[in-house]
Symmetry: C2
Subunit: 331 residues, 2 copies
């Protein structure tokens, strides 16, 4: 039997055991049909992952399935939304059943974990890439945006920064780490990022702005500053670097990764002074790590970095897929 | 100045003049935020278009922008939905400003025409392809699906079939048409398909099932039959072929294209006997062409083709992106 496109989609991606009540019609028709509860806003985000640019061409399919969803969930997390539905457009060079099984098993495991449902998609032949459109729900008026930061707000990040970049460097042979535990930790941070979904929801009424750190702290913070028309002071002494990173990379390299390394998928958010106590309680209840790394200042001050209370100059930029020399990050 | 990914997206795709009231937050944050009116269902569809498979690699960017949206609108049309929002994930081999301008101008012209808004997306570097996720709204309980056809229902199609395949054959040099008007018509049907949005909405309370014809009549009708657990009798004498196609291709070739040619983006739908009169009035009011081509019959009869009331055997299948020999349709 020829394995048609339709058979292929049906076999691996149409798993009827994964059902949400708000999905009236899932995979298998021209459109999915969905109900949105009253007073809920729909949050929608789209991300493309291309082999050789967003992931290593030889990544294990199970890792790819997990990471692809995590990358998209991270956008919902940054708005404080509850994950709901996923559309998956998958472009494959050939029909490889082992690959499809491992990829889809991993994807569905994550969808289940987050109570999500795959509602549709498309499968086509071509160079390996995928586009995920993720949808979430959020009570009206409670979404976190990039534009709400105000002068005096404190700047926080969740977790630690730069681990993912270090993990990639290990995989690519640019960083040698002999300690097996550190190696596994850093590579794991690169391959299996944890979207900060619960943290995002906890921030809903407390943070004034939020963004997820996909392109590196500096690049992503700049989006917040631009949208909020503010500047920022960042205290480099406070930058949260993991022990694994600090121990196994030299200090300048660790700092560089912490500020510009992509794919940490932590959240960067701002909090008015009045909400700081409540915020720290809320995140501590989740067992979530967070660090205050600076403060929002007037636009005219731009973005300034401090070390021991002295301004320091940095010439680094965030990772940009179209910047010369960086596009083939994974090539 | 280096043209960063973010600048690029902002310049061509963030056009603030296109605003819908139900878009609380459009392009420029981690997610778009959308409101869905009470008693409306959300209809969501995703389609990927890959250069060399879904469109000719040298297609004009303006044609591509128009066609990409049309292909997705056609899925909404098949459900009877009102188009609302689009997410566009665009993968480009390089930043070509002339290409981006022509593509985006054409896309926005069509978005405007349909009262839609681009709410987000992603731009990445890689082989030319794009994934569009389109969302529409439909009053609860009134969506058309593939599963509602019942024995005795009449099978209809809008417009004419096979023109797009003939147009592609002309472009590729497989069909010689000297008559300039016919040539332009057939090529136009391939390059600029018209999604049957108004027709789909008119069918809402009248048709028992509907699908859009993207992969060829037979292939798409089979989806309806499978979902509805029915068979069908198709009267080949009634198959609507344009005069341009009938005159400029031999009869067997025209029939083949009419039954299996992809990308006509007409609708195929079924109508209970009791609704036939109302349906024909509704479509005539729109000035829309439609033809009754057969009738739904029991599943056990499968799909049968008739000519002069005699069963004829056809061995053709619909176009399938993964079938051997057909995947590189545009290669």
């Amino acid at each position: 039997m020829a394995c048609s496109e339709f058979d292929l989609i049906a076999r691996y991606f149409n798993r009827i055991e994964h059902l949400r009540r708000d999905v009236q019609l899932g995979i298998g028709d021209d459109c999915a049909l969905l109900t949105v509860a009253e007073k809920q806003l729909l949050a929608v985000s789209t991300d493309t992952l291309v082999a050789g640019i967003h992931f290593l061409p030889d990544i294990a399919p199970a890792d790819l399935g997990r990471k692809a969803l995590a990358v998209n969930l991270s956008d919902l997390a940054a708005m404080g939304a509850d994950p709901a539905w996923l559309s998956l457009a998958l472009t494959l060079p050939k029909v490889d059943e082992a690959w499809l099984k491992a990829f889809s098993d991993s994807l569905f495991e994550q969808l289940d974990y987050y109570g999500m449902q795959l509602i549709g998609g498309d499968t086509t032949r071509g160079p390996l890439s995928m586009t995920l459109t993720i949808q979430g729900l959020i009570p009206a008026g409670r979404a976190l945006t990039r534009s709400g930061a105000r002068i005096g707000d404190w700047i926080y990040v969740t977790g630690t920064l730069g681990d993912s970049a270090a993990g990639l460097a290990i995989i690519q042979g640019h960083l040698q780490v002999t300690d097996a535990q550190a190696r596994d930790y850093l590579i794991g941070r690169h391959l299996w990022p944890q979207p900060r979904v619960l943290q995002g929801q906890a921030l809903r009424d407390l943070a004034s702005s939020a963004i997820d750190i996909s392109d590196g702290l500096i690049a992503d913070l700049r989006h917040v500053l631009k949208a909020s028309e503010c500047g920022a002071r960042i205290d480099l002494d406070e930058l949260p670097l993991s022990q694994m990173l600090s121990r196994h990379a030299d200090a300048e390299q660790a700092l560089y990764w912490g500020l510009t390394g992509g794919e940490d998928y932590e959240l960067c958010f701002t909090v008015p002074e009045i909400n700081r106590g409540a915020l720290e309680v809320a995140l501590s209840h989740l067992g979530a790590d967070y660090t205050c790394i600076g403060q929002i200042c007037p636009l005219s001050e731009g973005i300034k970095f401090y070390r021991h209370d002295q301004v320091v100059e940095l010439a680094w930029k965030g990772y940009d897929h179209f910047s010369p020399g960086q596009g083939g990050f994974y090539g």
